[in-house]
Amino acid sequence: MKTNTEHTNWKGNTGGTPWMQRSLVRLFGVLDVRILYAVMALVVPFYMLFVPKGYLAQYRFFRQCFGFGPLKSFRYVYLNHYAFGKVILDRFAVYGGQKFLFKIDGEALYLQKLAQPDGFVQVSSHIGNSEIAGYLLPFSGKKIHALVFGGETETVMSNRAKAFAGNQVCMVPVMPDMSHIFTLNNALQQGDIVSMPGDRLFGSTKGLPCTFMGRQAQLPVGPFIMALQRNVSLVTLYVMKEKAYRYHVYVNEIALPLQADNLTKRQQLAYMAQQFASGMEQMVKKYPTQWFNYFDFWNQ
């Protein structure tokens, strides 16, 4: 495990003022998202022009990880920003009450995990639209406790809580007093689901080394150690956008190898992190424009 002192206070919050966010939610209760997608397509170039930091991170991502030329990379940066805009709009559409269709690969596995009395850790990432899954997936009486950045505005938190209430999704913000750890630990002991991002270091800055897209990266220890320490399943969930009002969900399980007893705790954690990184890489290669980490991921 490596501790990194940089990037200790990642501000992965949803943009816009509370007034803007409230207005979007009202608007989305009645408006077809495709109309706003069209507006978004026109807005994206200006966003790229005036917020170049994310643009450059994405440009380097396509150049270095996919080996695209400058023009193709630029086009993919645009498509990436456009895709990100669409998943954010979809998120507000969910808050506003609109319905989406989901195709689920691995539904049997998910239902099997739900049927077990034990809880499990669901590790998500900032590709596709993981949050929207909380709106549709069945939970069979299990509550899902989703760890979120503690700096979201009251409007976003309140709308999330409202949108997810029907599916028993509880938001657990990262708190300075570490109370979120107790909440998540209690949730697993009660047989519930704990959802944690596996691709960003926030809360704790401890990282696990892994290879992602051919380069060394650090993944957060949190979801992996939570599953290992509580001896519960670790499930990966990717919710990828395919069309308007349509998502494709991929569910998989990360299990330790049969000889895991011969491995140290550190080796077990590293194994789990690498399995997650490899799965995430497959997904990013399949949906290259839905990689939404707008910073130098390999140096976090």
């Binding site: 750890i181 630990n185 209690n186 002991q189 809360g203 949190g222 150690i225 705790k265």
Partner: protein
């Protein structure tokens, strides 16, 4: 109590893989988190599981965490008063 304090220090070192430290290096009254040992929320989870596994103590109240893990002495006192095994 002193014996328990030494035992807790040893368990913290083993649980958190603090291989460079010995029990003598850990100040009994220094904060475990932020300053002092500089532990963070992931370490808190490991300590929660340690208390459960070694002493049969299930910590469920998030508000208690800060005071229980304030220092090795605070942790040992809590164990002494609440241990189930």
């Amino acid at each position: 109590m002193e014996q328990l304090i030494e035992q807790v220090k040893q368990q913290i070192i083993e649980t958190l893989n603090l291989e460079d430290l010995t029990p003598a290096d850990i100040d009994t009254d220094a904060p475990l988190f932020d300053k002092g040992l500089g532990l963070d929320s992931i370490d808190a989870l490991e300590l929660i599981v340690l208390l459960e596994r070694e002493y049969g103590i299930k910590l469920q109240n998030p508000a208690e965490g800060r005071s229980i893990f304030a220092s090795v002495r605070a942790m040992a006192e809590y164990i002494e008063n609440n241990r189930a095994k």
